[in-house]
Subunit: 227 residues, 2 copies
Amino acid sequence: MAKVGIVLLSGGLDSATVAAIARNEGYDLHAMTFLYSQRHKIEVLFAERLVQHFGIKKHIKIEIPSEIFQTALVEGSNISVPKNRDIDETSIPETYVPGRNILFLSYALAYGESVGADAIFIGANAVDYSGYPDCRPDFFEAFKKMADKGTKAGVEGRGINIFAPLMYLKKHEIIKLGISLGVDYSLTHSCYDPFEDGSSCGNCDSCILRKRGFAEAGVADPTKYRE
Amino acid sequence: MAKVGIVLLSGGLDSATVAAIARNEGYDLHAMTFLYSQRHKIEVLFAERLVQHFGIKKHIKIEIPSEIFQTALVEGSNISVPKNRDIDETSIPETYVPGRNILFLSYALAYGESVGADAIFIGANAVDYSGYPDCRPDFFEAFKKMADKGTKAGVEGRGINIFAPLMYLKKHEIIKLGISLGVDYSLTHSCYDPFEDGSSCGNCDSCILRKRGFAEAGVADPTKYRE
């Protein structure tokens, strides 16, 4: 029987690469995408294209009520998206979303246990996002321990694995790996502050990291920027 | 400034008692209630009455998509609610809901960090519900450790406390404590399998524990049973 994996699919470059990795390792995938009134709501459309691209059979979309998260990434928030700044990799960025990965992983765990999943895949990365507490390896270890204590699967020794295969990769390494696995990055999207036609701002943290990654990978960037 | 607490309020006897305890300890409360297509959807109405009873200003209601949980407690599930059985306190009951408290606490944590909460209050109990892995003290300890690693508040040393003040109390002790704090238990509801008029079945695990609790507390049970 094929192993079952739950992949958190935002429609971004990282989660697309993770889906390709999990599929390449033989997992039968279910995708989960979260809608949280984010400025990058357009990512959901990209997630749907990726689901098609990868032939994923089940796509769960979860709406998080707007009262839950308060951050620069969420519409209607009065914090603006930082632009053209030096990305300081040690302090916690303003774009931190309280409890985001905790909530996303908890959904994946609850759903994953219901469908008998073997593993959860998440595109967290401690190189470019070391400032986010919920992107660091010690957080994932603690989450796994908690999940093993708090689920039937965990208590019975069939605990669901949590894999963050991009954890120690730089952006250009992620891109090269994805290309070797057949990812079409024109179907992905990174901008925190996109235009309505789907083009990217080109100067938020996420666009800066993406552009730099393609440049360092020596791969043409398929993203449409409007600067 | 008053301490802020998030209370998980199901409309049941336990969570009502927890709200009274937290209020008595001086917390300014926000209530969270989860809707998950459960057979006891009627609890939400009871939760709303309790919110009024306690003068809680903010009541967040979260809808969990029906795809997430698969259990005897969820409508449309093909597992039936066990009736009139001996409650075996060591094995994991059929009414276990995968990842339920993990998901609920994660919501409370994300929302709580956004609003600057000091603590989360949950009515978990290891006496009557020792079979549920997500009701045991070691799970809550692991959740707190995970939360301290994965949130800004935790990393900065202002970690949100997680209190389960009913953990070691028997049902009759919970009822006596609640009555001493002014809880009106006619506003609460426990049945896993209620009738449409809001009356209780009287013979599911939850009704059995409730009836036994009132009897042992020597307090009249205000619940309407139809057996």
